[in-house]
């Protein structure tokens, strides 16, 4: 395991759950602090807190505080969402940095720890709005929308995990911890791809394009992305480049073999066709026969034949489609834990040919008594975390 000698205290709420989950997937021992009696039954909680050990804190504040401080003395990283309700625990980021010089403290906040709006409140919808993602999703003349499954917490958690390991790398080299300041708003900007560059470089502001893709043609043409099929939708785009050329050629060959009407497609030389130079009339003409062809296919037919022909494009999948995908089955992506039949997304990376197994069920408690601290491999930890403790 890549981080098998790393101990992490996780004092996060929903905004930061993913950070600890990712680091646990990489092998860190993550102890998640929970208030007494907290609700841990929801699917979302379980999905992002599996693979961590759960420490339910003593309702008595002094006892809870002593327990947390004992853990912090040997911890390498502390993940925090400062708004999380952890009774009795003093988890102020600056105080932690002062008291534990080798500790990497990762503070995950909606708008970060500095700036005029650092104290503003936000949930997923405000963060997707503040980070620009909602401006790019929805019908062009309609309401901006978010993804119905919260995403901003993922963007924040993913950035927090990187920050934690960046600071750990430096700590290994210098002996000093650091405070990692994570802004969920700023983290969401990663979702925008290069859209901000249009404003800065050419003064064009990309906006939401509904079921179409814009920004690829210098003549402003928009390309259809979602095509109705027999049992849902297919995602297909006319691309350029070598991969696009092959896809376009294969699609036309498939349509021809199926006896489909080709229309304007028949006259296109894909070796010279360039999507960046097409105007809207040309795009509309080549898309019309494709819409008729796709309307006859199922999602699975498109997936199988598209793969066989090495085409770009995928069906628009539901979670049910995903849960039965043979590709994921072959790679054992969904995993169970211990003797439970509950299935979860497994560790996100395959390391040296093996997907690290999930080690801890989200219902498995971490021993509450101080004498039972089960820190990993004492020998492995000696060189990595130090024993500076609180003075």
């Amino acid at each position: 395991m890549l981080l098998s000698d790393v101990l992490i205290i996780d004092a996060t709420d929903r905004l930061g759950w993913l950070a600890g989950r990712l680091l646990a997937d990489l092998g860190a021992d993550v102890i998640k602090l929970e208030p007494p009696g907290s609700d841990r039954s929801r699917a979302e909680w379980r999905a992002f807190n599996v693979n961590k050990r759960i420490l339910e804190l003593d309702p008595e504040p002094a006892s809870a505080r002593a327990r947390v401080e004992e853990l912090l003395r040997t911890a390498d990283i502390c993940l925090l969402t400062p708004s999380a309700a952890i009774p009795g625990a003093c988890l102020d980021p600056l105080a932690l940095r002062r008291d534990y010089p080798r500790l990497v403290v990762v503070a995950i906040r909606p708008f970060g720890g500095v700036g005029p709006r650092s104290a503003w409140k936000a949930s997923d919808i405000e963060l997707m709005a503040a980070g620009g993602a909602m401006a790019l999703a929805g019908e062009p003349d309609g309401m901006p929308v978010r993804v119905s499954e919260p995403q901003s917490y993922g963007w924040a958690g993913a950035h927090a995990a990187i920050g934690a390991v960046v600071a750990l790398f430096r700590r290994d080299a210098t002996g000093r911890g650091d405070l990692v300041d994570v802004s969920a708003q700023a983290s969401v900007i990663a979702a925008l791809s290069h859209a901000p560059a249009f404003v800065d470089l050419v003064g064009i502001e990309p906006t939401r394009a509904g079921a179409f893709m814009t920004g690829r043609s210098i003549k402003g043409a928009r390309y259809r992305v979602f095509w109705p099929c027999r049992d849902g939708y297919i995602n297909f785009i006319f691309y350029g480049g070598a991969a696009g050329r092959r896809t376009n050629e294969q699609l036309v060959a498939w349509m021809r073999q199926s006896g489909a009407e080709l229309g304007a497609l028949a006259a296109i030389d894909w070796k010279t066709w360039d999507p960046t130079k097409a105007d809207q009339a040309e795009v509309d003409a080549i898309e019309a026969p494709v819409a008729q062809f796709f309307a006859r296919l199922t999602k699975r037919e498109f997936l199988i034949e598209g793969h066989r022909r090495e085409m770009l494009g995928y069906p628009v999948a539901t979670v049910a489609d995903i849960a039965s995908d043979p590709q994921l089955e072959a790679r054992a992506f969904f995993q169970t834990v211990a003797d439970s039949a509950d299935r979860f997304c497994g560790s996100f990376a395959v390391i040296d040919g093996e997907r690290p197994p999930l080690r801890h069920h989200p219902g498995a408690p971490f021993p509450a008594a101080p004498a039972s601290v089960g820190a990993p491999s004492a020998a492995g930890r000696a060189g990595s975390s130090g024993a500076e403790g609180k003075p």
Binding site: L2, D5, A43, E44, A47, F111, V114, R117, K121, A122, I125, A130, G132, M134, L136, A137, G138, E139, G142, M143, V147, S148, E149, W155, A156, A158, I162, G163, V166, A167, D178, V180, S183, A186, A190, A191, L192, F198, D200, V202, V225, F226, P228, Y233, F236, I237, G240, G241, A243, L312, P315, A317, V319, A323, Q327, A330, R331, F344, C345, I351
Partner: protein, 406 residues
């Protein structure tokens, strides 16, 4: 592009590939001081240099792409023709120099080039290689090519974006590539951390599809537990009410939500009608959801009389989560992002002054930076091959004469 004093100082990274999924990893590492080398060839440069706008002054060119620049600041660019045996020899030599290789070729390509992990690790046992591709290196569809904009559909995100009665919606660009690249950055650094501690390298197989599913983990866990298949629901939320985006007087939108009756009471006071909290139609979250259209009309009437910024400021002052729906231009003027120096202007040799985006986190004691602009293609051949890799003048000249740098 000095890296002294930054958190990842001393980390040496080599990138094979292009577009977003690989290079975005290297960009983040470079922002914190890793010396990151982006390898291309002049015959086949990174696809982001040539295939997608925006281009400076709308004139395409290898060194005029804002798309390439956005994901390659703070790096060095070298050109090596891997079709030539001498180019392969030079690439292998670079693999001995570096700590981390990031590649996003199709599965099997690196092996066919003689640059597979096994061969490279024989000479550099501490090497960490991260291979990222659509489906992962194994499985029945491992060989399927793909772009992230479409993979976001296969991973369920597009199905859950839009209104119930409408089609799925696009997430801008190769959305899932950035999920994967951020997760990949953590994995790569974890690999390097272990390598530094133990001397043992690692091969990391990153499936962009699987990474995207991590962001869908809650919905998938719910499906496994209950069989429920979620569908897109506009801006509704199962708990919060109200929860949505509301059109404002200035044509902009403000997003807001109330997660408790107390928050709704605060919103009611903020919009000038505290009695709404006691109105049976709105007193509880289920009631507010049942009477959602009436409530939306009340809120819209208020937001319609003021700008989105003004509305958000008033609601936040009352303790209600709210923020304007920030557009792409608005990102550059947003006061919070400006305070964080989210966009930083650097001078590019051909594109002039333009902005680069900083990651979503920073280290307080060892902050990162946009260390330099994106490199022109092959701009750093001399420095990298002579000063970093240590080619002698004779070796360098020999490679040049063989056309390796073309």
């Amino acid at each position: 592009m000095s890296a002294v004093g930054q958190a990842l100082a001393g980390l040496k990274v080599l990138e094979f590939g292009g577009y977003a999924a690989g290079p975005h990893i290297g960009k983040v590492l470079a922002n914190f001081g890793a010396r990151t080398i982006h390898m291309e060839s002049k015959e086949r440069p990174d696809g982001f240099r040539i295939q997608y706008p925006p281009f400076k002054d709308d004139r395409p060119g290898y060194n005029r792409s804002g798309c390439f620049a956005f994901f390659n600041d703070s790096k060095y660019s070298v050109t090596v023709d891997l079709k030539k045996p001498a180019g392969m020899a030079l690439a292998r030599r670079m693999a001995q120099w570096c700590d981390l290789i990031i590649e996003n070729m199709r599965p099997g390509v690196m092996e066919r080039l003689g640059l597979g992990f096994g061969a490279l690790a024989e000479r550099n046992p501490r090497l960490v290689m991260l291979s990222t591709c659509n489906m992962g290196q194994t499985g029945p569809r491992a060989d399927q090519p793909g772009f992230g904009s479409q993979l976001s559909a296969l991973a369920g995100m597009c199905e859950l974006t839009g209104v119930p009665e409408g089609p799925p919606m696009l997430l801008y660009g190769p959305y899932i590539d950035y999920v994967a690249s951020l997760l990949g950055a953590s994995a790569a650094l974890a690999g390097v951390t272990r390598s530094r501690r133990t001397g043992k390298g690692a091969l990391i197989d990153l499936s962009q599809y699987e990474c995207g599913l991590v962001f869908m983990g809650g919905a998938l866990r719910e499906f496994f537990a209950s069989g429920r298949v979620p569908t897109r629901c506009g801006n509704d939320d199962p708990v919060a009410a109200p929860h949505g985006a509301f059109l404002c007087h200035d044509g902009e939108w403000v997003a807001l939500s109330c997660w408790s009756d107390d928050e709704f009471a605060a919103l009611a006071r903020a919009i000038g009608d505290g009695s709404l909290a006691g109105d049976p139609r709105f007193a509880t979250a289920p009631a507010r959801r049942t009477n959602g259209k009436a409530l939306d009309a009340v809120i819209s009437a208020w937001t319609g009389q003021r700008g989105a910024e003004t509305a958000a400021i008033a609601l936040q002052a009352a303790g209600v989560p709210a923020y304007p729906v920030v557009g792409m231009a608005g990102l550059f003027s947003d006061p919070q992002l400006r305070a964080r120096r989210q966009f930083r202007v650097r001078r590019h040799p051909e594109m002039g002054d333009h902005a680069y985006c900083y990651p979503g986190f920073d280290l307080v004691e060892a902050p990162g930076d946009i260390i330099g602009p994106a490199p022109c293609v092959g701009a750093d051949n001399d420095f990298v091959f002579r000063d970093l890799i240590g080619l002698s003048e004779a070796e360098y000249e020999s490679y040049r004469q063989q056309g390796v740098f073309d």
